[in-house]
């Protein structure tokens, strides 16, 4: 496949449309993947813009639609967008913290045609959950999880795992069982956005991961056919990279709150992208012809060690954003790969954190909570020690 953006190339249509409706969020999770400069991007797409985006993407073949954010519940037009999406034939997923929802709204979404609600939790206990979320959210989340079940949705509970909650995987799965979840996603923190800034606070230890894996397997066997549990080892601990997003511009299309089209939700930070806006271009042009979506399609963009690697089609060189963040060059191999000349640095970081995990030297370092105040401070270049919760 050529990478010059020629429209004569056969490109498969997008299957997944992720609609990041807003960067506004009542929670302050330090592992958020939203950009730390989010305070700069406050102008949100209108209802009409979103409806046009959904129509165009659906016409091209997109099937799954995720309403995400920030917290999508902060959009007063969410019901209207759900109704339109369902009428277009999307399978509609609401990815939410549950804050901003009540049972009436859960019922209203169902009437609008919403297919599924994924509720996130930060931990299995109120104390840790509320500390990480930066707000007293736990009790309300429990209530909303019960409402989701009551109204007949399939329920996915999502827990983003990191060093602070990884020791409690058993309690987390017990909570999921007690809430009668259909699916549990034990999502590994991806070190983009706020999470990258907080990686010293978040990276788990090898012992924690080994234990979490044993516990997860036990529950997977016990609950076979009843509850599906997804758990993936964080790629920082692997020696081969993930096939990120199933390939650049392969199935996944993200639209940011301010209307930029991205091949993944972390790509906004990559230098050299033109970041086409849905306000200037059709989804068809963006997906098939834009330089951005063709930039890392296929294999031609690769450098060594990827170019001659026998596994290059299997993992497509890993994650472009991770390559950029950890090596400064998005065309490098993802340093998760042991063939990357930068792999050892990553191993050293992870092992270094493992050695001092649990000591005040590491655990008492300031945490960068995700909020607009901190975002504005980062934009102004103020030092991180002054950052507030």
């Amino acid at each position: 496949m050529k990478t010059d953006g020629s429209s004569t190339n056969k490109v498969n249509p997008p299957l997944w449309l992720l609609a990041e409706l807003t960067y506004a969020c009542p929670l302050q999770c330090p592992y958020c993947s939203n950009p730390v400069e989010m305070a700069n991007y406050k102008k949100e797409l209108s209802t009409e813009d979103w409806i046009r985006v959904m129509r165009e993407a659906r016409k091209m073949g997109a099937v799954q639609l995720g309403f995400s954010g920030g917290e999508p519940l902060t959009r007063p037009d969410l019901e209207e967008l759900i109704a339109e999406a369902r009428q277009l034939g999307f399978y509609t997923n609401l990815i939410t913290s549950g804050i901003g929802m009540d049972e009436k709204r859960v019922k209203g979404f169902k009437e609008a045609g919403l297919d599924h609600i994924q509720v996130s939790f930060q931990a299995s206990s109120a104390d840790l959950n509320n500390f990480i979320a930066g707000t007293d959210a736990f009790e309300h989340k429990l209530e909303m999880a019960r409402a989701v079940k009551k109204h007949g949705y399939p329920m996915v509970l999502c827990f983003v795992l990191h060093r602070q909650n990884e020791p409690y995987v058993r309690e987390i799965l017990d909570l999921a069982v007690s809430l009668d979840a259909d699916y549990v996603e034990l999502a590994t923190t991806q070190y983009y956005g706020w999470a990258f800034h907080n990686k010293e606070y978040l990276i788990p230890t090898r012992e924690q991961l080994a234990n979490a894996e044993i516990v997860t397997k036990e529950f997977q066997e016990k609950l076979k056919g009843k509850m599906k549990i997804f758990y993936v080892i964080p790629d920082y601990f692997e020696d081969r990279p993930k096939k990120c997003m199933d390939g650049w511009g392969a199935i996944f299309l993200t639209i940011t709150p301010d209307g930029l089209a991205l091949p993944c939700h972390a790509a906004r930070q990559l230098p050299g992208l033109e970041l086409p806006s849905v306000q200037d271009h059709s989804i068809d042009w963006i997906w098939n012809d834009s330089p951005d979506f063709n930039k890392f399609r296929g294999l031609d963009w690769m450098k060594e060690p990827c170019r001659t690697c026998p596994e290059k089609e299997k993992d497509l060189g890993g994650c472009r954003c991770q390559a950029f963040m950890l090596t400064g060059d998005a065309t490098n191999a993802d340093p998760v790969c042991s063939k990357s000349p930068h792999h050892q640095e990553l191993v050293d970081t992870v092992e270094g954190i493992g050695k001092i995990a649990g000591t005040p030297e590491l655990e008492e370092r300031p945490i960068l909570f995700r909020n607009m105040k901190n975002s504005r401070k980062i934009i102004k270049g103020e030092s991180e020690s002054e950052l507030v919760k």
Partner: protein, 97 residues
């Protein structure tokens, strides 16, 4: 939970129905039927789709087999239907009523 009846045995009297938590629909661009569920989708072959079309919560397995054998007199679908429904049930695509 996905399936409270996971251990239930498939007999000719069982009435399967596409699970209310899943959606089964034709996709023009993919040129096939799909079954959709939270954050996922499976493309279905023609014969699987023909079986699922009959899983309407009214037909029992015996009726589904009879209807398909009438529709495709050259094929003996009995085993294919049973095998597919077992997989579909295990994956939570269909419920037994």
């Amino acid at each position: 939970m996905l399936n409270d009846d996971v251990n239930e045995k498939l007999t000719l009297e069982v009435v399967p129905e596409v699970a209310s938590t899943h959606r089964f629909q034709w996709e023009e661009v993919q040129d096939c039927h799909v079954i959709m569920y939270p954050e996922g989708m499976v493309k279905l072959g023609d014969s699987s789709a023909e079986i699922l079309k009959l899983c309407d919560g009214k037909n029992d397995v015996g009726t589904i087999i009879k209807l398909l054998n009438q529709q495709y007199p050259d094929a003996q679908v009995d085993n294919d239907v049973i095998k597919f429904l077992e997989v579909a049930h295990e994956n939570g695509w269909v419920k037994y009523k």
